[in-house]
């Protein structure tokens, strides 16, 4: 198993990740397996800046976007609390016990965060092992260079980019 970057003094926090199709597919496979084995009612993967990466399970799209931002913020706060109290370790896991469901928020390496919702009757220890295992696999996937990099282009090389940005921005505004 290859190693992935670990936080050093909580300094390296800026994200700059690229997810290639093969990585997206591998990640989806991991969360599908997690959903089946745990079993989990809902799983969401976001980056540490709060950008939604993928999800599995029923949820309104608008809620997903907000949830991704809140999950990232929650983990960031937990990491900072741990750091300030001298209890920081990598692979942080936050558990919230509810009446009907439990939620887990797990670090998946430096760049990603996994949010998992499981029924209350799923043993906590079992869920924790599976979630940490999945988080580790996701961290591995995102840190493994993809073999299809050369065939992909970002598409921002147009010399009229400033105009294109202006036009794209104008689509936002109400008529």
């Amino acid at each position: 198993m290859s190693s992935y970057p670990t936080p050093e003094n909580n300094v390296t926090l800026r994200t700059g990740i690229t997810i290639f199709p093969s990585q997206a597919k591998a990640m989806d496979q991991v969360i599908s397996e997690l959903a089946e084995r745990s079993p989990a009612a809902f799983i969401l993967v976001t980056d540490v800046s709060g950008h939604l990466v993928t999800s599995k399970g029923d949820s309104d799209k608008r809620h997903l976007l907000a949830l991704a931002a809140l999950v990232a913020g929650d983990l960031a706060a937990s990491q900072e609390i741990a750091r300030m109290t001298g209890e920081y370790k990598s692979c942080q896991l936050v558990l919230r016990e509810g009446e009907k469901v439990n939620t887990f928020i797990a670090e998946a390496g430096l760049f990603l965060v996994v949010f998992v919702l499981v029924a209350r009757d799923v043993p906590l220890g079992w869920a924790r092992i599976l979630i940490q295992e999945a988080a580790h696999q996701i961290a591995e996937i995102i840190s493994t260079p993809s073999d299809d990099v050369s065939s992909l282009k970002i598409g921002l090389d147009d010399e009229n980019l400033q105009d294109l940005i202006g036009e794209a921005f104008d689509t936002l505004l109400k008529e």
């Binding site: 997206a24 597919k25 598409g155 104008d170």
Partner: protein, 195 residues
């Protein structure tokens, strides 16, 4: 920044930073009102009982395609009150661009300067050189009777050379212009970095 080639998405994070009550949340509220509902998320606000920002406000905007990619702009505000320093730093995590919302009142000059200094310190703590991060400075509350003028504010804050937008956020003036300028700056920066 996060690029998802599978979905052809370019995800970017812009943080509205500035002293308490300078109008950061108002910026997002006015953007929310003026943007096509099909292209924005809900506005999420984590507030105190006194209606002040506790952790952050969040709004996502989806621009039209550029070069086959859909830029998704994530807007965040920081809590402005002095004792939320640790939270402010966390919200800056992963920022691709910053809007500094300054209060144009003469009585808030020190607060603006301190907030500006702290923002730069926090960015450095993440290994980000603030001089290389796309930044727009908004001089808000230009409708105050004693509002300082732009040249004075620029001098006091030491922000010569940065894009400046004058605004009256409560009336929605200058809000979209600020967003347009920072969006352009951030995407141009992505182009530069990916070249």
């Amino acid at each position: 920044m996060h690029i998802n080639f599978q979905l052809r998405e370019l995800n970017l994070k812009i943080v509205y930073y500035g002293p308490a009550l300078s109008g950061k949340t108002t910026n997002l509220e006015k953007i929310y009102e003026r943007v096509n509902p099909a292209q924005r998320s809900e506005l999420v606000s984590l507030k105190t009982q006194e209606d002040r920002t506790l952790f952050f406000d969040f709004l996502q905007l989806e621009l039209g395609k550029i070069g086959g990619l859909t830029p998704k702009i994530h807007l965040y505000t920081v809590p402005g009150q002095a004792y939320y320093e640790a939270s402010r730093r966390l919200v800056l995590r992963g920022a691709d661009g910053v809007v500094f919302v300054a209060d144009s009142s003469p009585s808030r000059v020190d607060d603006n300067q301190e907030s500006w200094r702290n923002m730069r310190i926090h960015l450095w703590s993440f290994g980000i050189n603030p001089d290389k991060l796309p930044t727009v400075v908004q001089f808000n509350k230009q409708d105050l009777p004693d509002a300082l003028k732009t040249p004075t504010l620029k001098y006091l804050l030491g922000v010569n050379g940065l894009p400046i937008v004058e605004a009256i956020a409560t009336k929605g003036q200058g809000i979209l212009e600020t967003l347009r300028v920072i969006t352009r700056g951030v995407i141009m920066q992505v182009q530069k970095e990916m070249a």
